[in-house]
């Protein structure tokens, strides 16, 4: 089974890009499935369902979404294999802009949109920096110049990535992405593979449910800011 990870800020068009790319792949129905990692709510499974794409949704809830991803990804792979998928796509939002659910050797795609502001590529961090492919959406509503400046800013952060422009409504551009999906690595298991980037450091008192403020309640891993005198 081939595995592809797709990440990107909320509402950047990940689901539309995935659905249109699956249809461009032209594989038999039921051969491509999606595992959606979300934090609190998600309505994407309805859209996948409408398109007859097998889907599983997981909610991180109070757990750091990145940690949630990595502790469930192996089971997700097993699910995909049980279902007899030939391609499984994981979809996750890059909630804190420190997250990047990318695994070494596994095709990694970051979806961002042209409307999110021209400096956004510089702010997204590892999720953009470590992607193999950056998909840019909503280009049909901004000027050519803005699309070019946006692509330039992406290249400044990730000069290796391939940039693909996709219209999530018409599917224009998904052809090329589908070609890349088709060339993704075949895997049996993810055991002993490594992430491309470290998780956010955790375990302090607030990770375990502390809500009170004050030195007395702070324990574990802490980072102090320096303020000017």
């Amino acid at each position: 089974m081939k595995l592809v990870t797709v990440a990107g800020p909320p509402s950047s068009g990940k689901t539309s890009v995935i659905i249109k790319t699956i249809s461009a792949l032209g594989l038999p129905e039921g051969k491509v499935g999606v595992v959606k990692f979300d934090s609190l709510t998600s309505f994407d499974h309805i859209r996948y369902g409408e398109n007859k794409i097998p889907v599983q949704t997981g909610f991180a809830g109070k757990i750091c979404p990145d940690h949630f991803f990595v502790s469930n990804i192996e089971d997700a792979v097993s699910w995909g294999k049980r279902k007899g998928l030939s391609l499984m796509i994981t979809e996750s939002a890059g909630l804190c802009n420190r997250c990047s659910p990318y695994i070494k050797g596994i095709l990694s795609v970051c979806v961002i949109d042209n409307l999110s502001g021209v400096n956004t590529p510089r702010k997204i961090g590892p999720m953009l920096k470590y992607a193999d492919i950056v998909v840019v959406t909503k280009g049909d509503i901004v000027s050519q110049a803005e699309r070019e400046v946006f692509a330039f800013n992406i290249k400044e952060v990730n000069s290796q990535a391939k940039i693909i422009f996709i219209n999530g409504i018409t599917g224009q551009g998904t052809f090329i992405l589908a070609k890349h999906f088709g060339e993704a690595t075949d895997i049996n298991t993810l055991k002993d593979r490594t992430l491309r980037f470290t998780m956010p450091a955790a375990i302090c008192s607030y990770c375990t449910g502390e809500t009170r403020i004050g030195d007395y309640y702070q324990m574990g891993m802490l980072k102090r800011m320096e303020f000017d005198e």
Binding site: K129, D140, S143, A145, E148, K155, E156, I163, H180
Partner: protein, 345 residues
């Protein structure tokens, strides 16, 4: 030059000298929160003062960040493989329409040529444009084949290019950045690594203003431009600054700009122009027009001399509409004799 080619410069020069030679280096430093680094030293020496924890937050250490800068410079160097396309021709070899009937054609388009695309909505115009954009090799539903400069493009040309083959202009496009016209053009020029930014910006601005009905200043915010002014700026900018060798225009007939001048400007910059249009003025102004029906190219019509003669009449009608529009804009009353006298003029 490969990333390796930059390593002598990056390790040998002070950061200050490096920034002077490659202004992009300052962006690179800012992107890694290194804007306060000591510029009087070489990069690897200056890094000794930097907290390694901070580099780690970017997934880097003092060795890999130097290598990373070399790669960064390489990807923006002019002879990098992701550089601009040089196109001498594009050939469309027919595939099939929605019913599987063969298109039976081979159409070669050269830079400077203007091709209009006509056909009802939903007939397959955008499919044709997408086939060109992804350089289809009988692997899209239409089974069309696209040749670049007479040859089958190699895989890396198809999938790895940094520059899009096609620049797009349509009526639904807007400016979303909140910048003045000058700032906007400067930003675009910078991202294109233009050497004479001021010169290009000035030329672009003058061009845009000559196309627009009402004039604007370089200090106007792009988001405050009228529809016609926006369109004029987009066209001038695409013609003079965009790297894409093919321009695709989608129905600019109602844009409130001088359409003929706009098309002349675009084609005069040695770009291939494809425009889908229902405007007789634009359709007949083109050298050829592709007729799309049922998902396929039904025929290609070369604009005849007879058709071109009609162009004079159409232009006359168009000018009448234009002056009526101007009269309305100036608050005049459109009297009954006015149109008649314009037609007989």
């Amino acid at each position: 030059m490969s990333a390796y080619g930059f390593s002598d410069e990056v390790t040998g020069m002070t950061l200050k000298a490096l920034i002077e030679k490659y202004p992009l280096v300052s962006d690179y430093l800012a992107n890694h929160r290194l804007n306060e680094i000591d510029l009087s030293k070489a990069f690897s020496d200056a890094l000794l003062d930097v907290d390694p924890d901070m580099l780690e937050e970017f997934g880097l250490d003092s060795e890999s960040i130097v290598l990373n800068l070399c790669t960064f410079l390489d990807s923006f160097s002019p002879d990098s493989k992701s550089g601009a396309f040089v196109i001498s021709s594009i050939t469309i070899i027919g595939g099939q329409n929605k019913s599987g009937e063969a298109e039976n054609l081979s159409l070669t388009i050269k830079p400077g040529e203007i091709i209009s695309i006509v056909g009802p909505t939903g007939s397959g115009k955008s499919r044709l444009l997408e086939d060109i954009e992804c350089m289809a090799q009988e692997d899209t539903p239409t089974k069309r084949k696209i040749l670049i400069n007479g040859n089958v493009p190699d895989e890396s040309q198809r999938f790895d290019t940094g520059v899009k083959l096609v620049a797009q202009l349509s009526q639904t496009m807007n400016f979303v950045m909140d910048l003045t016209v000058r700032e906007f053009l400067e930003m675009h020029a910078k991202s294109r690594l233009v050497t004479d930014v001021d010169g290009v910006v000035k030329k672009c601005f003058e061009c845009a203003n000559s196309l627009a009905g009402e004039k604007f200043t370089p200090d106007t915010k792009v988001t405050q431009l009228s529809g016609g002014q926006s369109r004029a700026l987009m066209i001038a900018d695409t013609a003079l600054m965009s790297a894409s060798p093919v321009i695709l225009i989608d129905e600019i007939e109602n844009a409130g700009i001088d359409r003929r001048e706009a098309i002349k400007l675009l084609s005069g910059n040695e770009k291939v122009i494809l425009m889908s249009t229902h405007d007789p003025l634009l359709a007949l102004f083109a050298d050829k027009r592709i007729v799309i029906r049922n998902g396929g190219i039904a025929k290609v019509i070369v604009t005849t001399d007879d058709e071109r003669k009609n162009l004079i009449q159409i232009e006359k009608l168009d000018n009448i509409l234009l002056s009526l529009r101007n009269s309305l804009r100036h608050g005049d009353i459109i009297s009954s004799g006015m149109i008649d006298s314009m037609i007989n003029r």
